[in-house]
Subunit: 149 residues, 2 copies
């Protein structure tokens, strides 16, 4: 029997977080941290609400996961995030020594791949999981925002 | 008359923050954010105490400064930090659009300069202000830590 817990399953959960950001008028990016098929942390972008550039979905999920684990390293954890992490978030993930990062949509301009942010040697990064869903949500956000102004 | 408020003055304040980190058993790095010769935010490394890799001095100072200003952009602000910012902190400073970063000691291995983190085009970065004081404090921390173990 196929396990229900695959990358799409957890990315769907990250997308639900992104939708919470959308509903608050935030750029819709969401993240979850998973260890052994269990979600231990959730986060969504809150930079506008908190007036804080550091309040990206990943940063909050990293902090919450470390809090759950009682230690600052995210060994054996996977972060699912709907958008490719930026330099700040990738830099935080470097320090966390996380095992795996799975992102949805690419961020060609501000993502960690093109900006060549150094990840920890223990970390694997993969992208493109439910990328269309993630980028469509962001596109819809900016279209609605433009129509409101 | 020479202004008492020069880079050394504010770096001294950042060093006082670093000493607070030292006293708590944290790698001693401190930061302050200044606008028009006024300190609006302070922070020191709390990664061990908070079990949180994101709790660098700069991250806390950025959040506190934005809170003080009531907006997330740190235009016209200078961040003084005793150690060259890492990728995460430089990435956060990118988003903040801060005007100026002044650091003390270089961090050849994990600092944003050698790791080529992209800063905002509006941001100037300068280093070497009270670098010996900053690096001596960090050296003393690791010597004492080694002797305790």
């Amino acid at each position: 029997m196929k396990s229900p817990f695959d990358d799409n399953y957890f990315m769907q959960k990250a997308l639900q977080e992104a939708e919470l950001a959308f509903d608050k008028g935030e750029i819709p990016v969401g993240a979850v941290v998973v260890i052994k098929d269990r979600i231990i942390a959730r986060g969504h972008n809150l930079t506008e609400l908190l007036n804080d550039v550091t309040a990206h979905a990943e940063m909050q999920a990293i902090t919450a996961a470390a809090n759950f684990l009682g230690g600052k390293y995210l060994h054996d954890c996977t972060l699912y995030v709907t958008l490719e992490p930026c330099q700040m978030c990738a830099g935080a993930l470097y320090w966390s020594q996380i095992s795996r990062i799975v992102f949805g949509a690419r961020d060609e301009d501000r993502g960690c791949i093109n900006l060549k942010t150094t990840l920890h040697p223990k970390t694997i990064i993969e992208g493109g999981v439910m990328a269309d869903e993630a980028s469509n949500l962001i596109k819809r956000f900016f279209i609605e925002k433009r129509n409101l102004n």
